[in-house]
């Protein structure tokens, strides 16, 4: 009695395949169970360079610092946004994250009025009655005037003929803090909590969220549910205007608030060794003040288009948003494709489709590039108006905010990542610098359908064209 070593010869090899085929063909259920024959060792196994280490932040602390430079063409918004964040990974799987963001914004934004063949003058409250110094928030062509007989100090600015009126006095500073904590609670289950606060000169926002996720199916399937509550307070320095009243320098009403309640249901599925898919359904309802207190609408003559009044806009007090997001990550050898699509619908009538595609390609061991493209398209909210017509009854709601109009947007970008240290799992600290350059362009029709004859040569489309550069650095250490 002897035992031969387990190493297969020519016939034994061929037999494996032969019988596998036979049994697979004759028993449908055999496929997952029948043996197969020898094959060369996994030739498809990608050789991944050090720039694509495996995810193993357990026990590590990760520091991130980044800055975003953002610039819209035509002298519109410019932003500089530094971010620092830290992630502390406990050895048992708990993760604590904190992020601090500062956002400085300057530039001009469309005030909502329609273009006109002549110059247009807009009057808006100055910071406080009796102020004679330069008013915070005003610049670029603004002048301060005292309204005769009232003592009210107003800021006035004039916009040139045949251009979409913009208010150049836009300047803001946003600071935001985000905190998050996630911890395993039982086998495959994770509980997460988060909160954030952000403040601007005239706006504060606070939110809190909680979520639960559960792995199933040998960690191949993750189902998650999370809920978020947000409280926002809008407090323009001159007060909140009453909707559809005439734009003026008069003091306005008190601060207004809104709440947002939303929930996300998600499933993440590892489809096979190469493919990760994610499906999310998000629903959220906002209630309260959602009108832009600075934005006006022109009331124009039905023939000439001449503006007779500028009315503060008015939006519904409730908005229900739903979206379905389907994302995929596929590892094709050493490259990774990220492809996603999002369908969005809200009760204001905005429907949108977003599609994104990026491909991460390792070039050499210390460099990868990731070209990306994004397409976005939305329909207009059902109360979107480029202007109102004098003599016609006021609609229930109206806004000329381009965010609620119909447009498409294309984004093209390139991300470049450079791992600086970390030639293996064990090289700690490891760090990476990365850059992303991105070009964003909105397109849409210059004129609404049935435009009044006098405005037939004006360009109403205020589409944004923006370039952004993001530079980041991340370092992980014990």
């Amino acid at each position: 009695m002897q035992l031969t070593p387990p190493r297969r010869g020519r016939i034994a090899q061929a037999l494996g395949l032969l019988t596998a085929n036979l049994l697979a063909a004759t028993c449908a259920q055999a496929q997952a169970l029948s043996p197969a024959a020898d094959a060369p060792p996994d030739a498809a196994a990608p050789r991944v360079g050090v720039n694509d280490d495996t995810q193993s932040d357990v026990g590590l602390t990760r520091l991130n610092a980044a800055v975003l430079f953002y610039s819209e063409s035509g002298g519109r918004v410019k932003a500089t946004e530094p971010v620092v964040s830290v992630t502390v990974n406990g050895s048992s799987g708990a993760v604590l994250t904190g992020r601090f963001t500062v956002d400085t914004l300057t530039g001009a934004t469309p005030n909502g009025a329609a273009p006109w063949t002549g110059p247009q003058t807009f009057t808006t409250p100055a910071h406080a009655p009796g102020t004679t110094a330069t008013v915070t928030g005003s610049s670029g062509g603004s002048t301060l005037v005292t309204i005769p007989g009232t003592g009210t100090v107003a800021r006035q600015y004039v916009t040139p003929a045949n251009t979409l009126p913009v208010d150049a006095g836009f300047r803001d500073l946003r600071t935001a803090v985000d905190l998050g904590y996630a911890t395993p609670v039982w086998d495959g289950g994770r509980l997460s909590f988060g909160g954030s606060a952000s403040t601007e000169r005239d706006y504060r926002s606070y939110s809190g969220n909680a979520g639960l996720s559960q792995d199933f199916n040998q960690h191949n399937t993750t189902a998650s549910i999370s809920a978020e509550f947000e409280y926002d307070r809008s407090n323009p320095f001159f007060g909140t205007p009453t909707p559809f009243t005439v734009m003026s320098a008069d003091a306005k009403g008190p601060a207004r608030t809104k709440t947002v309640t939303s929930a996300v249901l998600g499933v993440t599925q590892v489809v096979n060794r190469y493919w990760l898919a994610q499906l999310n359904y998000t629903v959220g309802e906002s209630n309260g003040y959602q009108t832009d207190p600075y934005r006006v609408l022109s009331v124009v003559d039905s023939v000439t288009g001449a503006p007779s009044q500028y009315l503060y806009e008015n939006r519904p007090g409730s908005r229900l948003r739903q979206s379905v997001y389907f994302g995929n990550k596929v590892a094709w050898g050493p490259t990774v494709t990220d492809a996603s699509v999002r369908f969005y619908h809200d009760s204001w009538g905005v429907n949108s489709v977003t599609a994104e595609l990026s491909e991460r390609v390792p070039v050499v061991s210390w460099l990868y590039v990731e070209p990306l493209a994004r397409y976005y398209s939305q329909t207009a909210a059902n109360f979107f108006r480029d202007y109102l017509i004098a003599g016609q009854p006021l609609p229930a709601f109206a806004s000329s905010d381009s965010r609620l109009g119909k447009f498409q947007a294309q984004t093209y970008g390139l991300k470049v990542g450079i791992p600086i240290t970390g030639h293996s799992e064990f090289d700690i600290p490891s760090s990476e610098v990365y850059f992303q350059v991105q070009d964003y362009k909105q397109t849409g029709s210059a004129q609404p359908g049935g435009v009044v004859p006098g405005l037939a040569h004006e360009n109403f489309f205020s589409g944004v064209q923006a370039v952004s550069v993001f530079a980041g650095w991340t370092m992980a250490f014990y």
Binding site: A24, P35, A36, A37, D42, T54, S56, Q218, S424
Partner: protein
Amino acid sequence: MALVTVIAMVSVGGHVAHAAPSAALDLSQYHGKVVYLDFWASWCAPCKLSFPFLEKLQSYYAGRNFVLLAVNVDHDRTKADAFLREAGSNLPIVYDTTGGIARTFNVKAMPTSVVIGADGRVRYVHSGFFPDQMPLYEAHISELLNAK
């Protein structure tokens, strides 16, 4: 005669081209010993955490009726070897590039440890590695070592 041979089944319909030679792990030579089979991979973060623990087991139970075998399931053996070099580990490694042994032992999470008694029976399976459960893992081993 006690011949304990695990004949690993080779994978699986649909991906015939990726199936690879049948892995075989001959546990017969360890009959009469407590065998701690640890399935690990270079890409698995908790596996990395578990290595110091494995090294400790290896040295602590040296000289007892104890065998530790670290079964590596990386598709690419070079990655496992790089990992071991970096970790400075010289644990006894069994390479299971096709997952044949892992399939035989029905491994459901990474890492997984299978603790086999001196009688050749699987007594405990530790799915995943949780540092706070290290005392329990050790208790299982000593229980089997003292079982005689």
